[in-house]
Every structure is written in C-alpha cells, then in structure tokens.
C-alpha cells in the first residue's frame, strides 16, 4: 500500500500559509526582513525536498543569527516604528525556523508563528481581503496542524488514510467558520478603547472650508467608494443630492465657508422623514454628508452639530471610517437659518464683468432668472474635467474664454451671475446620485460622484436647488459587470458593517432581538413566530428536500439495505450492538462458546439460540418464535447488567 510522509505534506502547507500571511504584511515590514524571509523560504524548501542541511542550520549558528537580527531590529526603535520592528523580529524568527531541520515540534512552532503574522495583518489590512486571508489560512493551518499531529503519532501512513485526515480537517474548517462567527458575536466588547490604531484606509482629501474651482478634479477622477448609505426608513430618492458644505463667500477665485454659527437641529413634524445610515470612508475633513434637511444625527465617537447652511459637522477630522445615522426631512426647498443676505456678496471686479451678461439672462422673477442662467450654462458650455489653468479669475476665464469646465465652474458661474443681480445664491459641495444596490438596499457613492450645485433663495419658498452642470455621457458597463461589482460591494458593506464596526451597541441590539424571539416562542406569540417562519419557509423547501434526500441516502437507506435478514445475521447483529464481535472465520457456535466463557448464563442462552437456529436452518423445521424470545431474554439480561467482553 503506498505510503506518504505527513510531515512533508504539512511542511508544504506551512510554506503556502506563510506566503499568504507574509504577503499581507509585506508592505509594513522592513524590506530587508522580507528579503531574508524569502531567501529562507527558498533555502528551507530546497533542503526539505533534497533532505540536505545548510551550513548555518545548526542550533548555535541559528541562535546567533536570530539574536543578531533582533538586536539590529531593536536599534532606533520608537513608538512610531514599533509595529514595523515587531514584524521584522517575527520574520527573522520564522526565517531561522525555516532553514533549521524540521521535526513535528518545529513545524508546529512555524504554524503558531504564522498565526501571529496573520494577527499582525489584522492591524494593517482592514478590507474584506483580510476575511479571505483568514479563511484561506484557517483551511491550510487546520489541515497542516492535523497532519503534524498525525506525523507525531505515526510518521508515515497510507495515502488513503491521509485523505481521511484531510477530509476530517476540512470538516473542522467548515464548522470553524460559523463557530468563529458565533464567538465573534458573543465576545464582550468594552465601551471604550485604551489605545486605538488608525482606520486602516488612507484618508482622502474631502471638502474643506476653502475650495478653488479646480480642486475637485482629483476627487472627480477617483473611482473608489466615498461612502455607503444603508436605507432604513422612508422612500429613497432616485437621484439623491448628498449635501456636504455650503459655501458663502467668493474671494480671489476661492470659495470659502465663513459663517459657521451653530444652529439647532430643526423639528418639522409635518414633513416626511427619511432614516438612513452612512458609512463614510476616511475623509480628512470634519464635515458630514446628509440628504435634505438633517433633523437628527447619531454618531458614536463625536457629537455632531449643525452650522449655517444646514451643514453637519463634527469637532474632529474624520480620519477613521465613520458610521452615523441620520434622520432627514424630505423637503424640496430648505428653509433659511441665516439671513439670505449673507449669500449675496460678490467681488466688485467680478460683478462688473458679469453684470452685462447677467442682465441679458435675467427674467421677470427670481425663478425665471435662475432657470435662464441654468439653461444658458447647460447649453452653451461643455463639461470637461481638465479645462486647463485659468488666466485671472477662474469663473470669468470659464465664462468668457475657455467655456469648458466641471461642475464647480458651472455652479460658481451661476451663483456669481445671480449674485451680480442681487439674488441670494450659494454653492453646495457634496455628492450626486450613487449606485443603488437592490440586494443590500443601500447606495454606493464613489468619489467620482462628487458634485457641486446651486441653491437659490426664492422668496416664499426657500432655498431652491438648481444644477447648471450639463449631463455627462458615461460609458455604460456591461450588465454582468455591474451585477458582479454590486455583489462584491454588497459583501464589502456587510464586512464593514458586521465586522469592522461591530460594537457593544450592535451586540446589545442582537441580544435584545434574540431575547424577544425567544420570549415570543415561550409565550406562543404566533405573529412573531409566523413572521419568522412564513417568508423563509418556501425558500427553504428545496433545502429541506435535498437535506432529507441526503439523510435518507446516507443513513436510512444503508440501514434498511444492510439490515439483518436471517436469524443468524440477527444473532450476530444483536451481540454486536452489545459489544460482542464475531471474529472472522468463527462459527456461530464458537462465537456463542466464547461468550459463554465470559458470561456463562448469557452464553448458555446464546448456545441454545444457535442450537435452535441450526435446527431451523439445516435440520428439521423448528419453531421460529423461540429464537425471537431468546433474543428478547438476552436483551433484557444485558440491559440489567454491564459486561466486560
């Protein structure tokens, strides 16, 4: 029977596990230690395959090299590079283990060190790829550890037996994932943390208090996610405008937010309410995004406030991924929180230049004028993300020279044209639209969705929204690609929501939910029970059928098929259930005699059974019922006593 060396196979798996985990931390580890690790990996692999030893693989040389490596890693260690040096030390120890001769114990140590590397990756890799890494490492490590244990007990086993081990370890890994989820959910979370790492993702430059029309170019070409909005309550708008900052003052070609008076969150009981949860990527800004008129914002780490222009912000810059919940009023036009006259200033030279054009576009009413300017810009100018450097004032250059630009040029031009006519108007910076994910019931908004638009004060109505930017042709993606990318993003959202941002509050919510379900079952509350069962039942029918079939084929059918048919088989089966096994080649009489040696009364009955069975089977036909009676008597006897066979 072909045999295989378990230690060799677990060694190969260890190499795979190490490659995966070290790749995850390679960017953070010092390059020298990564190179040392790669060399050690190659040397270790070659010496394992060829069963040779390298000159430095004796324990003393290795100890010397490890101490030297650790010493060099510790030189110049500070609080900032502590993690980097820790990785260096870890890689040096692993390298030493790789080039040393490997017994079961050494291999086990390599796996445990690998576990530390994966844990280190938890500090630097926060994306969903860490989840995939953990699944992969769990599968490889569990299989490797099972084989190591096997090699400890028996170095070489038949290949067929090794597959039994691999199947068993795969089963453990399969069960490991749900068990991990259970532990993850129930492990107690502290209310505060003592020492926090950064958010993992690099903060993108968001909207700030001052912005020039060309500044959003970098954001507009970035396709990465800016934030996700999980819809909780109310009707979600088809093309939402996510308000960020409201700019009030234009000076020297720069828009600025000068008025930041804190205002109360409005209460409008008559207005329709929307409730949603925003998972904001790090922005390097203190402004929060919201839809319509924010009535309440709940944020875990900081207390949000509302400032002029109904702009929501927090005291500190949002360097980490932030989750907050917003209750917004769905209003077409926003009310004033500050006199509209604060939004009327325009530099004199700009006003002088714009006034003739503005007068030409003016209508009878503010609304007509606003629509006229909007239409003028939409039709006579082209959208361009790289309009080139402006000569002089960017808005004047856009209106009279280049006639091309992106949303910020269009919005700035409209606001300044209206202000030159004395109409209060303001530029709003935020995001437009987003990709609605039906599966997860959320919007995915990319940085490239960044947008600026205009709010115009219309007496008697409030701040009306206008968007002078012409529509941009966007090449449509193939439906399959869209579906796949939506599905991946859905997984990412779940990862952020249920893994990265899982906290005490969510833990308590889950516990409350579980308790209420349990209570409803105890109290027989049918409505909850039905609500729990009814929607899932139909979906579960195919699963039940498949599970039933598998159970039948795996358990019921073999039992039915292999059931004892003759009295002889019944006799053997009966004693087998009670721990007596018939030896191969043993006759029934010999078997009964062997039983009699250990338990004479039982054996006597067994012999009687065999005698009657032989009579029935080979001699004259005898009564069958005596055999059944004997089996029953023996069963009763065995139940009332314990036997050692």
């Amino acid at each position: 029977m072909p045999k295989t060396n378990l230690l060799n196979i677990s060694g190969l798996l260890a190499y795979g596990a190490l490659i995966g985990s070290v790749a995850a931390i390679a960017r953070e580890a010092p390059p020298v230690s990564v190179i040392v690790f790669i060399l050690a990996l190659i040397v270790g692999f070659i010496q394992d395959q060829r069963s040779i030893q390298n000159p430095v693989s004796n324990p003393l040389s290795l100890l010397f090299l490890v101490i030297l490596g650790i010493f060099l890693s510790l030189i110049g260690i500070t609080g900032e590079n502590f993690f980097n040096r820790f990785l260096s030390i870890l890689l040096i120890i692993i390298s030493a283990k790789l080039i040393s001769p490997k017994k079961s114990r050494d291999m086990l140590q390599i796996y445990l060190l690998n576990l530390l590397v994966v844990a280190a990756a938890a500090v630097t890799r926060w994306g969903m790829e860490f989840g995939l890494l953990v699944i992969l490492e769990a599968f490889i490590s569990v299989t490797g550890l099972v084989l190591i244990y096997g090699s400890y007990e028996q170095q070489e086993i038949a290949i067929s037996e090794m597959w039994h081990l691999v199947r068993w370890s795969s089963l453990i890994t399969l069960c490991l994932l749900p068990a991990t989820v259970v532990f993850f959910i129930i492990l107690p979370r502290p209310t505060g943390i003592f020492f926090a790492w950064g958010g993992g993702a690099v903060a993108k430059t968001g909207f700030s208090d001052r912005v020039t029309p060309g500044a959003v170019e970098q954001i507009k070409i970035d396709p990465s996610p800016a934030f996700r909005v999980r819809w909780l309550k109310g009707k979600h708008p088809p093309k939402p405008l996510w308000r960020g900052i409201v700019y009030d003052t234009y000076e020297g070609g720069v828009w600025e937010k000068r008025y930041k008076r804190e205002i109360d969150f409005p209460k409008m009981w008559w207005a329709e309410m929307m409730q949603y949860e925003i998972l904001l990527e790090p922005t390097d800004s203190e402004y929060l995004l919201s839809l319509g008129l924010p009535g309440k914002i709940s944020l875990k780490s900081q207390k949000p406030i509302l400032v002029s222009g109904y702009t929501a912000k927090v005291p500190d810059i949002l360097e980490r991924r932030t989750l907050y919940q917003v209750y917004s009023y769905s209003l077409r036009d926003l009310p004033d929180d500050l006199s509209p006259l604060y939004y009327i200033d325009i530099p004199g030279d700009v006003e002088e230049r714009l006034l003739p054009l503005a007068r030409r576009l003016a209508g009878q009413t503010v609304m007509e004028t606003a629509r006229g300017v909007e239409s003028f810009l939409k039709t006579g100018f082209s959208y361009n993300l790289a309009p080139g450097e402006a000569q002089g004032d960017p808005v004047i250059y856009f209106l009279f020279t280049s006639k091309k630009g992106h949303c910020e040029y269009f919005a700035s031009a409209m606001v300044l044209l209206l202000r030159s006519l004395g109409i209060p108007a303001r530029v709003v910076g935020g995001y437009s639209g987003g990709d609605w994910n039906e599966m997860g019931q959320y919007y995915l908004v990319h940085h490239s969705d960044a947008h600026t638009w205009v709010e115009v004060w219309i007496e008697g109505r409030g701040w009306g929204v206008f968007d002078p930017t012409p529509a941009v042709y966007v090449k449509e993606k193939s439906p399959l690609r869209v579906k796949v990318s939506r599905f991946i993003d859905f997984l990412k959202l779940k990862w952020y929501y249920w893994v990265l941002d899982y906290d005490l509050k969510r833990q308590a919510d889950l516990a409350r939910k579980a308790a209420s379900i349990f209570q409803s079952f105890r109290s027989g509350n049918n409505s909850i029970r039905l609500a729990l069962k009814a929607p899932d039942f139909k979906k579960l029918i195919p699963i039940f059928i498949i599970a039933g079939l598998i159970l039948f084929l795996k358990i019921a059918w073999p039992r039915f098929h292999n059931r004892p048919k003759t009295w002889g088989e019944k006799f053997v089966h009966f004693f087998q259930r009670h721990g007596y096994y018939k030896q191969p080649g043993e006759t029934l009489r010999e078997f009964a005699q062997r039983i009699a040696e250990h338990d004479p009364p039982l054996g006597h009955k067994a012999l009687l059974f065999v005698k009657n069975y032989y009579l029935l089977e080979y001699g004259e036909k005898g009564p069958e019922d005596i055999l059944g009676q004997l089996l029953k008597t023996m069963g009763d006897e065995l139940k009332s006593s314990t036997h050692l066979t």
């Binding site: 926060w126 769990a138 244990y149 068993w168 502290p190 893994v499 721990g579 036997h643």
Partner: protein, 287 residues
C-alpha cells in the same frame, strides 16, 4: 465496557496556543480592533471544535480484550484487543491500562491488535480501569475516556529457571523400554549394542574400543515419568520457590512428564495434558 467519564489534559503546545489566544484577546480589547476580535474568535472556535472532534473521536467505540496465552507475573503477556468503531472513523487512539498500552492509528470498522500487558503479581488480577485517549485532531489537548468494568485474569507466578531435578526410582515407574518411543531425556540409563539407525552421536567410543563392537548410550525415555513438585513448606524464599515450581511445571509439561504438585494446603495428583497444567499453574497462583 461502559464508558464512565471523559477528561481533558492540556499538552505543552496547547498551553502555548492558549497563551497566544489570551495575548490576542488582550490586544483586541486594548485596541478595539474587531479584526483582532475575529482572530481571537477563530482561535477560540478552533479550541472548541478541537474539543468536540476529540470527543467525537472517542464515540461509537466498542472493544474487547481477551488473553491469548498464559499470563505470568512480571512478563509482558499478549492480550488480543478487538476495537470496533461502529460509525465513522477514529484517529490515533491510545488504549491504556495500568499494566500497559497500545497505539492504534486509524480505526474504521473492526481491528484486532495485540495488547501487551505486564501484570506485577501472581494470583487473580483484575483489570478494572481502561482508558482510551487521543490528542487528535491538533494535539493541543488530550481527551481521555475511562471505562469501568472488570477483566479477571489468572496470573501465574513468574517462571524462574532452575536445574531440572534428577529423576528418582519412583518417578521411573511405568517407563517404556524403547528409547525410540517418545522423547528422550538427558539421563543415561546404561549401554547397549548398536542398532541400525542409531545416531552416531549416541556411540560411546571408549566402550566401543574396549568391546570391539559398536556400543551406544541408552537414555531414559521421559514419556511416562512422573515429576513430583513439593512446595509444601512455606519458608523464606517462598515466592521464588513458587516461581521455580512454575518453571518445573512448564518444563515438565514440555517433556511430557506426569506432574504432581504438593502445596501446603492441597495436593494435586499426577497428571498430564493442557488442562492439568492449567490446574497446576492456577494452584500455584493462588497458593
């Protein structure tokens, strides 16, 4: 046997694993990093599943132990261990009694294996506790399943070789004359003329030279001789005398002698055969 209880023992690698888990959990609490919580959860889950699978590894097991030969004190005796896994597979089990153990790699269905047990004292021995244990699947923990029951074994005294005694006149009664029947002993009965087919090694060359004809040594035939072993007096070195008596019984049986045994409280008539030998050895065990 009926399982009595399960126990778990942590191995040294298990302690290392637990320490790493604690370090990670402290890191998770300290930093509030949910991915470290995830790692901690993974390690706890692995610990939990390792415990469950080690338990499952010991389920559905039946076994029987049968002595396959005579059992002598202080000498490893072979027992036949029949182990059956009624459902599924068991990996890397160790079966252990106070008197010895055996390793079993993979059990699927029924396997038979020798179990060598070394029982320390003569007499009726009872193997009461029997443990099956395994560190499967990861070797971090060792799970024990103890069985209660009682296997009664008759342990004969340890045989200690001694010089086989010279046969007395009494013991020669009933001998058969022909040396060619049955097995021959070592003691010379006398000399006789050479017969065809006598082996040359029997030729007594000195006597042949004196007589001028071929003379061979004639041996006592052991078949039919009686060996009386007398250990009737309890005195110093009693155990040793019993051990020597045990040797003599075995040797006498091998030489097909009729063997009688005199003990302080009983006397066993001469007899031959396997059953008689067993009777004698049991009497020695219980003396």
């Amino acid at each position: 046997m009926i399982p009595k209880r399960y126990r778990v023992k942590i191995t040294s690698s298990g302690y290392i694993y637990i320490i790493i888990t604690i370090v990670l959990s402290v890191g998770a609490v300290n930093t509030g990093n949910n991915l470290l919580y995830l790692m901690t959860s993974l390690m706890l889950a692995l610990m939990f599943l390792s415990g469950l699978s080690s338990l499952a590894n010991l389920f559905f097991l039946d076994f029987s132990i049968i002595p396959s030969q005579e059992v002598f004190a202080e000498i490893p005796a072979r027992f036949n261990l029949t182990m059956t896994r009624r459902r599924g597979i068991s990996f890397f089990l160790s079966c252990e009694t106070r008197f010895g153990s055996v390793q079993l790699p993979i059990i699927k269905g029924t396997i038979e294996t020798p179990l060598w047990l070394k029982l320390p004292k003569r007499g009726k021995a009872s193997i009461e506790s029997f443990r099956i244990h395994s560190g499967f699947p990861l070797g971090f923990f060792r799970r024990y399943k103890a069985y209660s029951g009682s296997l009664e074994v008759m342990v004969y005294p340890r045989p200690i070789p001694r010089v086989f005694p010279t046969l007395t006149d009494r013991s020669r009664g009933g001998e058969k004359s022909s040396p060619f029947h049955g097995e021959l002993g070592d003691e010379i009965k006398g000399l006789r003329d050479y017969r065809q087919a006598d082996p040359l090694k029997w030729v007594d060359w000195k006597a042949t030279a004196r007589k001028g004809d071929m003379v061979v040594r004639d041996f006592y035939s052991l078949e039919g001789d009686t060996l009386v072993i007398d250990v009737s007096k309890r005195q110093s070195g009693w155990e040793r005398r019993l051990s020597e008596a045990c040797y003599l019984i075995l040797e006498g049986y091998r030489r097909k002698l009729s063997i009688a045994l005199i003990l302080p409280d009983r006397e066993i008539e001469p007899g031959r055969g396997e059953k008689h030998k067993k009777r004698l050895l049991e009497a020695l065990s219980l003396a």
